[in-house]
């Protein structure tokens, strides 16, 4: 038999309420064991309070060749960033 355990991507939310972050991958026979393995592999140093796993093959990703059209348009919208605006110092913190 010997079919390989599928690959899972692991996402962990740390202590401070930030978003789940991709931390790596691992192999497991199913989702439940993937979560247990993730606990044992990726939280050895107290890194997290919540774990998501998803089968690697189930991830839909943007195509690398679309990088230009997908991301470059936002380059020109500099006004979205707070540093675009000059606020006089007298106004104080904003």
């Amino acid at each position: 038999m010997s079919s390989e355990w599928p690959l899972w991507e692991v996402f962990i939310r740390g202590q401070h309420g930030l978003n789940h972050r991709h931390v790596g991958s691992l192999h497991a026979p199913d989702a439940e064991m993937a979560i247990k393995n993730a606990r044992d592999v990726y939280t050895r140093r107290n890194e997290g309070v919540s774990i998501w796993v998803v089968k690697s093959v189930d991830i839909a990703a943007s195509s690398p060749s679309d990088k230009g059209p997908l991301f470059e348009p936002s380059n020109s919208k500099v006004y979205r960033h707070p540093t675009f605006f000059d606020i006089p110092e007298e106004v104080g913190h904003m």
Binding site: M1, S2, L7, V23, L26, H27, P29, V41, R44, P64
Partner: protein, 332 residues
């Protein structure tokens, strides 16, 4: 390092590169990261699989020499520290296999190649750990040498490899320190302990120097790998840096580096030192090191003995999935 004598493929002068290859090289030169689904030369992909695979194999075979002392660690705390450290190595192997898998090879395929001898692991793990100070020497010298190589590799061009190295370096910082901590205790302990410490240094010094691979003048694959930024420094650069860093640490311990030609060279700002015996290095690579058979044998045995366990869990997962599907149909 943990990846020695990696055969690099597809070295080409710029004039012979295709437009795609030129664009690829320019991205690397600009410091961009290459991600798995992006176009890459076949040689880059193959060389990386070989290098990351060998690095991963080294981590898991590297569990064995230190694992050899887990049941004999002299205190409960030392036992826990050593176990945690060897466990980290399994973790590092796991991260690296996952990085290699993004290149289109499976972990099982890589393990198969380790087991049938067609892929190698670092020569250092074919040396035995004979006394407790060896556990200190492995942490201090072997991890020390590894870190020397891994820190720059955090900047390597392949994204998943770089991210694995960042994670590994973060976790590894305690490994070398725990090794040196053992050496300090031993070097300042009873005469017997000090003798063990010196003995460990005597046996691990040259094998540690060999970890960086053959001299640059004999290292035929370096140039292409360096152009691709999957090798950052030359073997000799790293070896020199390692010696310069380690000699004062040995002096602090009151131990003698087993090299009568070791001498500070003011002009080059580093130590002159003796080359390791490269014929021994090639013997070890060819399978004739003191522990090659035991190390590979232990890995193959673990894998073969575990087949029923891995298969059993797959079978259960499939049955459970089928049962869930059947229950869903029945409910509808």
């Amino acid at each position: 390092m943990y990846a020695q004598v990696i055969k690099s493929e597809g070295a080409k002068p710029r004039g012979e590169m295709s437009p795609e290859e030129i664009a690829f090289q320019e991205r690397i030169d600009r410091g961009e990261k290459i991600e798995p689904k992006e176009w890459m030369p076949e040689g880059y992909r193959k060389t990386l699989i070989r290098q990351i695979g060998q690095h991963a194999h080294s981590e898991i075979v590297g569990q064995l020499p230190e694992g050899n002392w887990i049941t004999r660690a002299p205190t409960l705390e030392r036992k826990a520290i050593l176990l945690a450290k060897v466990q980290d190595e399994a973790g590092h192997g796991l991260y690296l296999y996952c990085a290699a898998e993004t290149l289109g090879v499976s972990r099982d395929e890589l393990l198969e190649k380790l087991h049938n001898g067609s892929m190698k692991y670092s020569s250092i793990f074919n040396y035995p750990t004979l006394n407790w100070a060896d556990i200190g020497a492995v942490g201090w010298l072997v991890d020390g040498a590894a870190i020397m190589n891994q820190v720059p590799l955090q900047r390597t061009s392949f994204g998943p490899y770089s991210r694995a190295m960042i994670r590994i370096c973060k976790e590894e910082s305690f490994h070398q320190r725990q090794g040196y901590d053992i050496m300090m205790k031993m070097a300042r302990g009873t005469p017997e302990q000090k003798a063990m410490a010196q003995d460990a240094l005597n046996r691990f010094w040259y094998p540690a120097l060999m970890m960086f691979g053959p001299s640059d003048k004999d290292s035929v694959h370096s140039a292409q790998s360096m152009a691709w930024k999957i090798k950052i420094n030359t073997n000799d650069e790293l070896r020199q840096k390692f010696v310069d860093q380690t000699v004062p640490q040995a002096e602090y311990l009151g131990l003698t580096v087993p090299d009568q030609h070791l001498k500070w060279n003011e002009e080059k700002g580093g130590y002159d030192f003796s080359e390791p015996d490269w014929s021994e290095f090639y013997d070890v690579l060819a399978g004739n090191g003191p522990c090659n058979r035991e190390r590979l044998g232990a890995r193959v045995k673990a894998w073969e003995d575990g087949a029923w366990f891995r298969d059993g869990l797959v079978a259960h997962a499939e049955k459970a999935e089928a049962r869930r599907a059947a229950a869903k149909i029945a409910a509808e």
